[in-house]
Structure formats: structure tokens, C-alpha cells
């Protein structure tokens, strides 16, 4: 049973199948098996949040799930946010508020913020700071991120 199994997921609306040993992390499956390297890996123990994706509509750490556990799941990654050439509004706001520098935390930040805003109405700045504390950024000092999420939340999209 340590042998590879077939795993089928719907990623960003597309059905994708790949092989995975039971021990393969979902983060590695997305990145290496499916080639979706937009999801980043910064710690592999649940703290940095860079690997955050949506699993069945809710944000989760892809480094703390096995790929086999995602079999049959709907997954959304950063690659699915833009509409063709048009950046998602939150992506645009990240750029506007200079919420990214090296960009390594950015995918996790985006996916976490979308989940936060979708499930928590009327966020205060303190709640945004606490909600976004789920993801570490070493570059920006967070200010731009907080502003981008605040503007997005107040726009109430999605």
C-alpha cells in the first residue's frame, strides 16, 4: 500500500489526474506532479502559509495534506484567480498597495485573504491583521497587504 495511487482533483476548474505515493504532500503533488508551481513551499510545517490553497472552497495548508486525501476534491490555486489576462481585483489591489516584494508569500496571502473576506463580513483592521497572521511575509512589513485586503473587503466582491 506504499505503492503509488492515482489521484484525481479538480484544479481551478480543470480535472487533473496524477500518480502519488501515499506520503506525497498535496503541495508537492500540485507543484511537481501537476506543474502548478504558483503555490509555494516555505516551511512544510504549517506556519508560513505560503502553500495555502482552497480545498473545497476553504483555505487550507497544502503542505499539511496528503495528495491522496485530496482525491476527488476541488482545489483552487493562485493560478486560477485571474480571468484570462485580467488580474483578479485582489491581485490588482496587491499591486496598487505594494503588497508584494519578492512575491514568495503572495500566493498564500491571496488565497488566505480571499477565504477570510468571503467568510468574515465587516472585517476591522485588527481582524484583518489577525486573519492575515496566518501567512508570513518577510519583505513588506505587511502594511501594503493589510491595506489591499481592507480595500478589497470594503468593496465586498465575491
Amino acid at each position: 500500500m506504499t505503492a503509488k495511487r492515482s489521484v484525481t482533483v479538480t484544479v481551478n476548474g480543470e480535472t487533473r489526474t496524477g500518480e502519488a505515493e501515499p506520503r506525497m504532500l498535496l503541495s508537492d503533488f500540485l507543484r511537481d506532479t501537476l506543474g502548478l508551481t504558483g503555490t509555494h513551499v516555505g516551511c512544510e510545517h504549517g506556519i508560513c502559509g505560503a502553500c495555502t490553497v482552497h480545498v473545497d472552497g476553504e483555505a487550507a495548508r497544502s503542505c499539511l495534506m496528503l495528495a491522496v486525501q485530496a482525491d476527488g476534491a476541488e482545489i483552487e490555486t493562485v493560478e486560477g484567480l485571474a480571468d484570462g489576462e485580467t488580474l483578479h481585483r485582489l491581485q490588482q489591489l496587491f499591486s496598487k498597495h505594494r503588497a508584494l516584494q519578492c512575491g514568495f508569500c503572495t500566493p498564500g496571502m491571496l488565497m488566505t485573504a480571499l477565504d477570510l473576506v468571503r467568510h468574515r463580513p465587516n472585517l476591522t483592521e485588527a481582524e484583518i491583521r489577525s486573519g492575515m497572521a496566518a501567512v508570513l511575509c518577510r519583505c513588506t512589513g505587511y502594511e501594503g497587504i493589510v491595506h489591499a485586503v481592507a480595500e478589497y473587503a470594503s468593496g465586498g466582491e465575491r
Binding site: R23, A60, S130
Partner: protein, 290 residues
């Protein structure tokens, strides 16, 4: 930081899961939310031969209002507890404490049963279970055991569960009318495990404390319930002096450790400080106050 090799099973029924657990030997591990187990796998600190993933066992998830008790299935996500109106109303202490567990994307996966079975001394859910004298419903192929919190949490990451046993649900007594509950915690950063966290629930009737429950995480090898502190409050008017006496008792009965985050002496001070906050919060929320 990649997990070692293991066999993996994803049973769909409880019986199947219990059979697997009984037949797979002592090195098998249950995989619930994975938010504690998978990091341990990634560090190769955990080396199970077999993982039994119980996420597909439908009967293990759910929140059931059973009159006096609220029965919460083991694989109920912490996120579901946090967003449950029923939990907020019936077991407000658990509801409030859950917000202190890690971060939202971790609570998406993390389960109540996983937290209780894992018995991390700094975890919130076990402290709530200890404070409220929750009952752990444990099942194996050999049958079912109902274990009170006092007998369930034994030591650091150690519970009364036998290797072939699974926690299937936790039963919490509903909050009595007029009682107030509060959870107070300090951690180094937002979402970190507690340096000290205190769960308190007080019932006041006719201006006197009729029932008091105080337990803490982070300040002992297991969640600690503080009977001395409860006694200091019982029958009092819950005034500042009684609360100070209870806080002193909490500090005295704590059994903290030293690590890079805090000294034992400091944790003891924090236990008292959090007890003060929790008790003041619980008293303010309790009806029938003096």
C-alpha cells in the same frame, strides 16, 4: 522535510476503521485533520507504519444537541465549531477557545478529536474539556469506553486511549442558565500555542458562586483543572478578593516547564494573569451577579 514511507488506508465506516486499527499493530496512527500529525511526519518525528485516515468516516463528524449535553463528533473541524451557532450558545467556552487555535486555514482541517487525542499540553480544546468535565467517547473493536476528562489526559501527548482505541466523540455539558464563561490566553504571536491559557466558567445564583470551573493549558504536562481555585470562589460573591485568591491558587497549582519561549516561573505568573482575565470575563457574563 518529507514524510517517511507508510501504508495508507481510508476507511469509510467506523467498523472498518476500528478493524484496521486493531489489525495494524501498535505503529499504526489515525490521521484526522493532520495539522499536528503531518508536521511530525514531515520532520520524520512520527514514523507510523500505517496511517488510517478517518476523514471519510461520515458518522464521526457532526454536532448533535442531545439535551443536557452537546455531542461533537471526533472529526468535526475546528472551523465548523467556530462557526456553529449551536456551539456558541450551548458551549460558549469551547466556541471562544477555538478562535485561539492556530489560524483559520489550519482550523479548516484541524479536528476537535485530533486536538483532544493529541493532548498537546498547550492546546486549548483539552483545557476546555478539562474545565467542563467533558466525556471522551472511545471505541475499539473490543467495545466502548466513556472516559471523563480527569482520567483521560495523563501527560504530555499522552492520554488514556489504548493503541486500538479511537476517540469518536466528545460530550460537553451545556452551559447552565445564568452561568458565564470566558477564555483568556497569551501566546507569543497571534495563533501560536499558548504560553498560558485559562478556561473559566462560573454560575452565580443569588449573588453567590454556585459552580466554578477553571482549567488551563500551557502550564503543566497536561491540561490542569484547579480545584483549589474553584473552592476559593465557591459561595463567594465573586469579588476581587475571591478572584485574587483563585488566581493565587492557579499559580500555586500550575506545574509549568522552561523552554525557549518562557521560563517556568514566568508561565506561572501568566497562569495567574490569564486566570484573572478569564474569571473577570466569566463573572461579567454570568447572570445573577451580586
Amino acid at each position: 522535510m518529507k514524510p517517511p514511507r507508510f501504508d495508507y488506508h481510508a476507511p469509510e465506516s467506523l467498523d472498518e476503521a476500528l478493524d484496521l486499527l486493531a489489525d495494524s499493530g501498535p505503529d499504526a496512527r489515525i490521521l484526522a485533520g493532520g495539522q499536528s500529525l503531518v508536521p511530525a511526519l514531515n520532520f520524520r518525528l512520527a514514523r507510523p507504519s500505517v496511517l488510517i485516515d478517518i476523514n471519510g468516516v461520515a458518522e464521526l463528524a457532526g454536532i448533535e444537541d442531545a439535551g443536557e449535553r452537546l455531542v461533537i463528533g471526533a472529526t468535526t473541524r475546528q472551523r465548523a465549531i467556530e462557526t456553529s451557532e449551536t456551539v456558541a450558545r450551548r458551549v460558549p467556552l469551547l466556541h471562544e477557545a477555538t478562535r485561539y487555535v492556530a489560524h483559520l486555514p489550519i482550523r479548516t482541517r484541524g479536528t476537535l478529536g485530533g486536538s483532544v487525542a493529541n493532548a498537546d499540553p498547550a492546546a486549548e480544546d483539552p483545557a476546555v474539556a478539562a474545565a467542563l468535565e467533558a466525556t471522551m467517547v472511545c471505541r475499539s473493536r473490543r467495545g466502548e469506553r466513556r472516559i471523563a476528562a480527569a482520567g483521560f489526559f495523563i501527560d504530555v501527548l499522552t492520554t488514556a486511549l489504548e493503541p486500538d482505541e479511537m476517540l469518536i466523540a466528545v460530550e460537553f455539558p451545556g452551559i447552565p442558565d445564568g452561568a458565564g464563561a470566558a477564555f483568556a490566553e497569551i501566546s507569543r504571536r497571534d495563533g501560536d500555542f499558548a504560553l498560558a491559557g485559562v478556561a473559566a466558567q462560573i454560575a452565580i445564583s443569588n449573588g453567590r458562586v454556585a459552580d466554578a470551573r477553571i482549567a488551563a493549558c500551557g502550564v503543566g504536562p497536561a491540561p490542569l483543572r484547579f480545584r483549589d481555585a474553584e473552592d476559593a470562589l465557591l459561595d463567594s460573591a465573586c469579588g476581587p478578593e475571591a478572584i485574587e485568591a483563585a488566581c493565587d491558587a492557579v499559580a500555586a497549582s500550575s506545574d509549568p516547564h522552561d523552554d525557549v519561549h518562557a521560563s517556568a516561573a514566568y508561565r506561572r505568573q501568566l497562569a495567574a494573569a490569564m486566570a484573572r482575565r478569564a474569571l473577570n470575563g466569566a463573572r461579567a457574563r454570568a447572570g445573577g451577579a451580586a
